[in-house]
Symmetry: C2
Subunit: 359 residues, 2 copies
């Protein structure tokens, strides 16, 4: 390890505490803004000197901002693969940065992190990615934090901006506002009632899209969906957020209705399902990541339906993060093969559930 | 209920206590002798008056025997279907008697039961079926009890006997000694190592046969096999028992070897398997009989391998019996549909495991 994750306040995980609105169904809200310096080439076309210039300028501006003035700056290109992976598993850096250099092409890139609610990536796909991660369903709160940071940065830096198109970005799908907002939402009720396909189709018709736990290209596991805006152009930030917010509120309602129907029409099936998940999490000696996510989904549903009371949503959130490969490797202090990982994951899960039970 | 199962000492279940030899692998040993009165038609050809005559004679003889002189006599034809089923689930009467009258043909039939180690059925396929059920691997002990009863009965009754063939029976496959000895054995190791087919084939080549938990026609569930002699004719009782005993001893050895191999080569897989079974038994809210047997099999293996220590073999044996439909209906005091049965079974199982954990 060349850096200590504990240097980041709260390990960047304040959002795990499940304190936010609708924290039982919506795990977290993430908003990010893509920005580029107008006098530097985009990262896809830049050389290492350009990258360094961008980093220097952005760092200087950060130090003058209210939110990032003393945030630790982590040089992603100085990290080992498992360290990058660890940050990615905490949702603090993107997959692109987590895999930086894996293709042999190294790039000067960095992340500035706070307790997790506000952060920044430098020289990701865009020069600057401002981001904010909040517990629960907190679109407005997240955006207001981010707006403040954007204003502070914009006061220091000249961002690439076009009168007609708005902010210019490396990939045209981000141009305009540069805003992508997403909520990580747990929809087991809609999956069990088989209504999920209809709901997702409906979302895509109104300009929203869905992904798995880890953003673009990641598969849906454990009934955890990331719902986000598809469009970034032609609408104001406020309109985009309001639209996403309205739709997510509807999805939460549908999910609650689905859970109600399940409990009304198939209470035994549901109770059996959630308690079996709990029993397996508590006793299995080998757990794949995917199975763990599915079992966590079952237990989370049980907690949401007040069937299971001896485990907190915080612990379930914690398991989502700490049951991942890089986190398990960190806790063991060494690299782990796949079958070892499954054993260590099961042991960690058991331990956490036992601690919870004796609390 | 027209009769009280508690009239039978120990409820006929002294064999459940797992106190017998190799009680961890061999649940029970059963020996029975088929006998017929030589002056009465076999039950397949008899009328109700004949049946009554047989019952009267046999009862009188029983009262003069050392083992059954005060055993309660239960008129099977006076029982309701669920009561007959209850006795069958306890291995006290055969499936034939459990289903008596279901085809509309009622027959005067009875069972004389003690604490389970010795008993008798009257007017089953044969006039008299003497039987003995012991905990663990106890062929000699079971037969010696039975031999004593046979002698006492034979002193009072003239049994159909042919100089050349031996005892005559309703079905020729029982003629000769009229002896069928079986052990109920748990072979998860041989099933998991996939050696079971070879072992069973070997047994059939030396005149032995296998069945499921409930004798003839019953399927194997939970890796519980009944191994018994196929041949009853042309050999003495002692030879038949010695042969079965030798073969069962070999099967026990193979099973132990298989368990050793599994623990040596796949300890995590085995630990995972047995603890998952425990977790599901402990937390499921709905359990089919077949799944319960499979989970009990897993837990039993875990106990045998000293992986699980917080549950006794006695409790596992008890679950085998009390998780069955007629037992669950008795404990609820009413008839249960299939889905209700699964819920009640899961609740009963949880309760028993919780009692065990707090002991």
């Amino acid at each position: 390890m060349t850096f200590d994750i504990n240097l980041v306040p709260d390990g960047g995980m304040s959002w795990l505490d499940a304190s936010g609105p609708d924290g039982n169904i919506v795990l977290s809200t993430r908003v990010r803004l893509a920005r580029n310096l107008d006098d530097q080439p985009f990262t896809v076309r830049s050389g290492s000197e350009d990258n360094q210039v961008v980093l220097d300028q952005v760092e200087r501006a950060s130090r003058a901002s209210r939110q990032l003035h003393d945030a630790p700056l982590i040089r992603i290109d100085h990290l080992q693969a498992n360290e990058r992976q660890l940050l990615h598993e905490r949702h603090l850096i993107s997959r692109e940065l987590a895999e930086l250099g894996d293709d042999g092409k190294v790039r000067t890139a960095a992340a500035l992190l706070t307790d997790g609610s506000v952060g920044m990536m430098v020289n990701e796909e865009d020069h600057v990615r401002l981001q904010c991660l909040k517990s629960g369903f907190s679109l407005e709160e997240a955006y207001s934090d981010l707006e403040r940071l954007d204003a502070d940065m914009g006061a220091q830096l000249a961002f690439a901006f076009h009168e007609e198109f708005g902010y210019l970005t490396s990939c045209p799908t981000n141009a305009g506002t540069g805003l992508r907002a997403s909520v990580l939402i747990h929809l087991p009720g809609l999956v069990l009632t088989k209504e999920i396909a209809k709901v997702l189709q409906g979302l895509s018709q109104v300009g929203l899209t869905f992904r798995g736990l880890y953003g673009e290209g990641s598969e849906v596991v454990g009934n955890f969906f990331q719902l986000s805006n598809q469009t970034t152009l032609g609408k104001s930030e406020g309109e985009l957020l309001e639209h996403l917010g309205d739709m997510v509120r509807k999805v939460i309602e549908y999910e609650q209705q689905a859970r109600h129907v399940l409990q009304r029409d198939a209470p035994t099936v549901i109770a059996d399902k959630v308690w079996r998940a709990y029993g397996l999490l508590k006793y299995a000696r080998s757990l794949s990541f995917e199975e763990t996510m599915n079992l966590l989904s079952g237990v989370r549903l049980g907690v949401g339906l007040n069937l299971i009371s001896d485990i907190s949503v915080y612990t379930l959130n914690k398991l989502l993060i700490f049951a991942q490969p890089a986190h398990l490797a960190m806790s063991e202090g060494r690299e782990l093969g796949d079958s070892e990982l499954a054993v260590v994951r099961a042991a960690y899960t058991r331990q956490l559930l036992e601690e919870e039970a004796t609390r």
